[in-house]
Amino acid sequence: MYGRKVKLRFLFIIIILITLILTTFLILKSLEENVVYFQSPSEIKSLTEIDKSKIRVGGMVKKNSISINSNEVNFIITDFKNEINVTYSGAVPNLFAEEKGVVAEGFLKDRNFFSATKILAKHDENYMPPEVKEALGEK
């Protein structure tokens, strides 16, 4: 039959294969759970059901839409076709201003209300996240 060495090697290969499969499975599984999808206000409007998972919404902050009180910031994100109301309590980045691009991360309450847990900071005033650019339809 087979020698001890062959058997050992065979065992080794099997172990490696199992580990590989397990790792891939683990990684893919948690990717599935932890991935955050990006959507524009228009895409949200056309949703048939509201997902409970975390998403990102991007677009422009509508003019004169920011209002603030001691524990919340409220504003409207628009892609000039549709808009969505955002409530947020947390730190705002430097370049957060009306008529500037913004990406908010959080959860949908319904098709018109979004509760943000994070607003993403950008380094550059001229910079617009590629997602926002696309959502606004200019390439």
Partner: protein
């Protein structure tokens, strides 16, 4: 004007010398047993021209020569001199010139310093390095020439992004690049050694020095970037699992693994395939880092200027290099160490091998997390992002056995080992678990995974600490590094678990109060500087014990370019950092205030410094 001209033609001359070096190498390789002095002097000449070119760019920045596009785009007359100079490498063109400078510098030092190695090996290393250098010359001249003219000459530049005007970030790119580009020497010499089949223990100890140099600089470079992100981005964190950070972490993981492999190769002449593949991987990942950051493919919080043509060039270049190295690996590398391949399961070799697999796992997690969104975007145009939970979930559980292995592994002997007189190993394990349990119990933090994690980190901590006193330790650098790592993990854990944060919106004169902290927003001042106007907010914050601190975070509006930045005010003490940052929302009276208490912040930096210090110790050590 004149500087741009000189700089540009220096680059061309450097390229021509690079090409001529192929010819000299070819001649020398076939004919002689001593290194042709022409090769050495031409390499020096190439370095000289790149230095000239680099100096020209610096001068252009210093005298604000706006006829140069790069200067125009990234500088301004009102900028302080220090940032004029650092602006040289704060942009794409300049940073690539810096790449080139380091590439040529390293190969020159390599040729001068390498002794006791075959001449053919030196020449071949030079050839491989020149392939990279010529590639970068072409890239620089073709797609990102730092000396392009602009006409009519503008009177004022566009300025440097103020967020980059910072001492830590001024030296961050050079240090990081020394690490990145240092890996090119490893890459070249590994390819050379493989082709000549001279991979041996003496070669290993020769290349170990280069690996260490690269590793030390990469570690420090990442640290600087992290410190900068901590105080400048105003989020109070030090690592965001952002793609741009990940691309620097990946070569670091590969390099660290390589460092461990080379130790085995140095002692036992095994794991050669690992060494070759890892060396190729380190350089490839460094190149990928440059590619991903500069091409604009990554959607990152740290976004820099970008251009698709550049990305394509680097990508093609990268594929040629990978193809070349894989070709060499398959055709020249014969596993000649079958004779002693079987080692006992309980040995140093095994533990290093296990370490390798762990590191490869961490590497692949980071790689997938970074690349998967790009991949998905290309095939399905779905926009996604992968956040910290993904990494935490996949890395933290595996950190536990990893930490334990780090404690026990170095205790094992080569080839075969027993664990008989090692009762203290178990003793310390029990102590660690108890201690971790006690600490967390006291603070009402009963999360199982935290307890286990802290136990294993404490375990490593105690074991390494004990070794400082017990043995006349032969391998002091290893011990310092592992000790530093345990300290790092502990600080990060405590930092995360015990951090507290208050985010609120306040008007001037208002007070925020909760059960533990009272924040009084006292007043607002204004300040005018040469290159920015600032709003300074004055806070007084007191805690339960009646300790009161005064904070003055700033909101700066830079004039060139017009960008607002927040300057956090941080009070650092040995045990914790207090961090406050403000922001003003457009057209509103409210200030957005974020106040954080971060324990052990300083220890995170210190432990990383300790880890790189271990590298320096190892570098200075003579081979026993």
């Amino acid at each position: 004007m004149i500087y741009s001209l000189v700089g540009y033609y220096s680059l061309i001359l450097g390229l021509i010398i690079g090409l001529s070096l192929f010819y000299f190498s070819y001649k020398n390789f076939n004919n002689s047993n001593v290194l042709d002095t022409k090769i050495l002097s031409f390499t020096f000449l190439q370095l000289f021209f790149v230095v000239i070119s680099f100096l020209c760019l610096i001068f252009s920045f210093v005298i604000s020569d706006f006829s140069n596009v790069t200067v125009f785009n990234n500088s301004h007359t009102t900028k302080p001199l220090f940032y004029k100079i650092s602006g040289t490498w704060g942009n794409h063109e300049g940073s690539l010139l810096l790449w080139l400078l380091v590439l040529t510098l390293f190969i020159f030092i390599f040729l001068v310093r390498t002794k006791n190695q075959p001449v053919k090996y030196k020449i071949l290393t030079l050839v491989f390095q020149q392939i990279i250098i010529v590639g970068f010359f072409l890239f620089l001249i073709k797609t990102s020439n730092p000396f392009n003219y602009i006409f009519p000459i503008p009177t004022e530049g566009l300025g440097l992004n103020p967020i980059l005007q910072d001492p830590a970030l001024a030296i961050h790119p050079p240090i990081l690049y020394l690490g990145y580009v240092g890996s090119s020497i490893i890459f070249s010499s590994v390819l050379a050694a493989t082709s000549l089949k001279i991979i041996s223990t003496s070669w290993a100890s020769h290349i170990k020095k280069w690996i260490l140099i690269s590793w030390i600089f990469l570690t420090l470079g990442i640290l600087l970037g992290s410190i900068w992100a901590y105080y400048e981005l105003g989020w109070g964190g030090f690592w965001f699992w952002d793609p741009v950070e990940n691309v620097s972490l990946m070569p670091w993981l590969a390099l660290t693994t390589l460092l461990h492999c080379i130790l085995v190769l140095e002692k036992k002449s095994i794991l050669t395939s690992w060494v070759i593949i890892l060396s190729i991987a380190v350089f490839t990942l460094s190149m990928c880092g440059t590619f991903l950051v500069r091409s604009g493919i990554l959607n990152s919080v740290h976004t820099f200027a970008n251009d698709p043509e550049r990305g394509l060039f680097i990508l093609v270049f990268l594929f040629i290099l990978i193809f070349l190295s894989i070709l060499i690996f398959f055709f020249f590398h014969k596993d000649n160490d079958r004779k002693s391949y079987s080692f006992f399961w309980l040995s140093k070799e095994t533990s290093i091998l296990i370490n390798n697999w762990f590191m490869m796992y961490f590497l692949s997690v980071v790689l997938i997390g970074t690349v998967y969104p790009i991949f998905l975007d290309v095939i399905s145009s779905q926009k996604i992002s992968v956040g910290p939970p993904f990494y935490h979930k996949l890395i933290i559980p595996f950190l536990i056995p990893f930490l334990l292995m780090m404690a026990i592994g170095p205790k094992l002997k080569w080839i075969k080992s027993q664990l008989e007189d090692k009762i203290y190993l178990i003793f310390f394990l029990i102590i660690s678990i108890l201690l971790a349990f006690l600490v967390l119990k006291n603070f009402n933090q009963n999360i199982l995974i935290n307890t286990i994690l802290i136990s294993s980190a404490l375990y490593l901590f105690f074991i390494t600490l004990r070794d400082f006193f017990v043995k006349k330790y032969k391998n002091i650098s290893q011990n310092i590094a592992h000790f530093g790592f345990s300290l790092l993990i502990l600080s990060i854990l405590f930092n995360n678990i015990f951090a507290s944060e208050i985010i609120t919106n306040l008007k001037v004169g208002e007070t925020f109060e909760n059960s533990k902290t009272k924040i009084v927003f006292e007043s607002v001042d204004q300040k005018k500087e040469k290159n920015y106007n600032a709003i300074i907010a004055n806070f007084s914050i007191s805690n339960l014990n009646g300790e009161e601190d005064r904070f003055s975070p700033e909101l700066r509006i830079y004039n060139q370019p017009v960008i607002a930045t927040s300057e956090a005010d941080i009070k650092t003490t040995l045990m914790s950092d207090k961090f406050i940052v403000i922001n003003l929302v457009q057209n509103q009276d409210f200030f957005n205030v974020r106040y954080q208490v971060k324990p052990f912040m300083l220890w995170i930096w210190l432990s990383v410094i300790l880890i790189s210090f271990a590298g320096i110790v190892s570098f200075l050590q003579k081979r026993s």
